[in-house]
Symmetry: C2
Subunit: 340 residues, 2 copies
């Protein structure tokens, strides 16, 4: 995996100067641009820009043409994280306090808005490298991506707020398609191929692949949230249970429990987050163990991951074998094989 | 003013179907699109779209070409309001509870994000009416508008958070340029003229006019916030004092007070909003009366308004006389002459 890490690092080095350039010489620092810079410094591996750039290269396109879109993807992803933490009440992000915890909700809402706006600014750079028409096609992709993600977020927040204990596995999979798959996997591939092959190329070929990969990724993330190593994971372990977040683990549990357990489950999630008790979270863990709900999710993630690996060969059938296609294969494995 | 109201109504009728179309047949309803629809139903006079469309017409352009941009301006304005209320802790908006009060911060943050994203979607419609290149120039205008507004918001929130009691009239005027003038006045004019005259036309001619008009408008709004008729104004009277919002009224007061009054002033604003007491707000009103700070602001607004009316003739010198230019003149008068 050294080669993979190296290439992820190379993409970050390609994208970071664009992200920084968007913040240079702008005011105010302390209450806006320094906070954006901080959020970006904490950024993760750069999966989304890497997938976008590698797809452009795999389909014979010029890497430089994909950099503005890759930077916009990374900016938007981090914009989402700033607002997600407020919306979910998550206190930690990448092993540090969430931005709203450190700087308050008002500034953090505004910072996320500015990051969303800056991702639009980055799309303007596409005009220079791919011309105004293809640049508008990339805006179409971003538009769909943004709205799907925000609709997914609304579904999830709605389920928590209304304490919906009837969600099914299918409901969950639709949620993941909307809140995770489009922006993290499907659109980075689509945009990468659009840049390489132009607007006539059928981009629908990536939809199934990105869905399978995204679902595997998100379900594994949900599992890690409950039983991962807090230090590696960078968030509070069990945070999803405190937040009442609906996952495949919970949709499985909702289907299994009956009688007094079902009633108590509903009662625990009916409370606001800060009124839940540690012993109630402990009881949730026992219930999950009893019904093997975490095993169920882990198994589903493994099946989806293996389907994604297979589907990748179909999605990228037009791309010649070579280091870029290998990198994407490795990226898929890496994405779904994060150790618990 | 009947003719003015009629034309404002006509613009709303032109823009509303576009706003509604963006929400039609989309899910989820209860936690996203119905909330956006509600926010838009409460919308105000439609000053920004009217100014944009009237400017296109005044400069000989086709009104239909300005409708997507006008709709995007209206959507973005309402997006700002949803997040502003969270950031300022304002409890009421247009005589109803603010969205976050009714539906909670998480959903309201997400709704504002989606409205910002939908304003981008509306800009895509420009490609059909003005072609991809001019459509990108309009994105430039929106990009500048968004970032100036969010930078202004960051300045204002920072002053409140850090309890900055040293802000001057100039600081305040820079704030107003950034948080109000660009998006409410300067860019609607610039975009309107860009659509009519094309990208070669010098748009800088509107900057001074829009600044004077915006400053007059905002200062008058600040005065109304303290001494207006709550029913007409639609927000809590004195809300700015509870929120600690920095206005020209306060920059004047900061300059006037000395000794124990200055220390007490700082102490009152140092408290979080919900720890301020009614008698402290009462004392602030007394202090403002003693130093005639509200009169100072009202006088400044009147001077700025008369300068804006004069400057309008320069900004629109290239536009022939006629009903559109008359409408803009009346709109300027109407904007700055809202009765207290």
């Amino acid at each position: 995996m050294r080669a993979l890490e190296d290439r992820l690092g190379a993409v970050r080095a390609l994208v970071a100067p664009r992200l920084q350039a968007a913040l240079a010489d702008r005011e105010p620092r302390a209450h806006l641009y320094d906070l954006i810079a901080r959020a970006l410094e904490r950024a993760g591996k750069g999966l989304r820009p890497s997938l976008c750039i590698a797809t452009t290269r795999a389909f014979g396109g010029d890497e430089a043409h994909a950099v503005p879109s890759a930077a916009a993807l990374e900016m938007l992803h981090n914009a989402f994280l700033v607002h997600d933490d407020i919306e979910d009440g998550s206190e930690r992000r990448r092993d540090q306090p969430a931005m709203y915890v450190e700087h308050g909700v008002p500034l953090a809402v505004n910072v996320g808005d500015a990051m969303q706006a800056l991702s639009l600014r980055m799309l303007k750079d596409n005009v220079k490298v791919v011309g105004p028409e293809v640049a508008w096609r990339i805006v179409d992709e971003f538009d769909h991506m943004l709205m799907q993600s925000l609709e997914g977020q609304a579904m999830e927040l709605g389920w928590v707020r209304d304490n919906d204990c009837s969600i099914t596995d299918d409901d969950y999979l639709l949620l993941v398609l909307k809140k995770t798959c489009w922006y993290s996997f499907i659109h980075p591939c689509r945009i990468g191929a659009l840049i390489a092959r132009g607007p006539g190329y059928d981009l629908g070929r990536f939809d199934r692949f990105g869905f399978l990969l995204g679902a595997a990724f998100q379900i594994q993330d949900d599992v890690l949230n409950l039983i991962g190593d807090g230090k590696k994971y960078g968030k509070e372990i069990g945070g999803d249970l405190w937040e009442g977040k609906r996952t495949l683990i919970l949709s499985h549990l909702f289907r299994q429990v009956t009688g007094t357990d079902a009633a108590r489950l509903r009662d625990v999630f009916a409370k606001p987050r800060d009124r839940r008790l540690p012993r109630e979270i402990g009881w949730l863990y026992e219930l999950l163990a009893q019904h093997r709900s975490i095993d169920f999710a882990r198994d589903a993630a493994a099946r989806l991951a293996s389907a994604a690996l297979q589907e990748m060969e179909t999605a990228y059938a037009d791309a010649p074998e070579g280091e870029d296609k290998d990198f994407i294969r490795n990226l898929v494995r890496y994405t779904v094989e994060r150790s618990v």
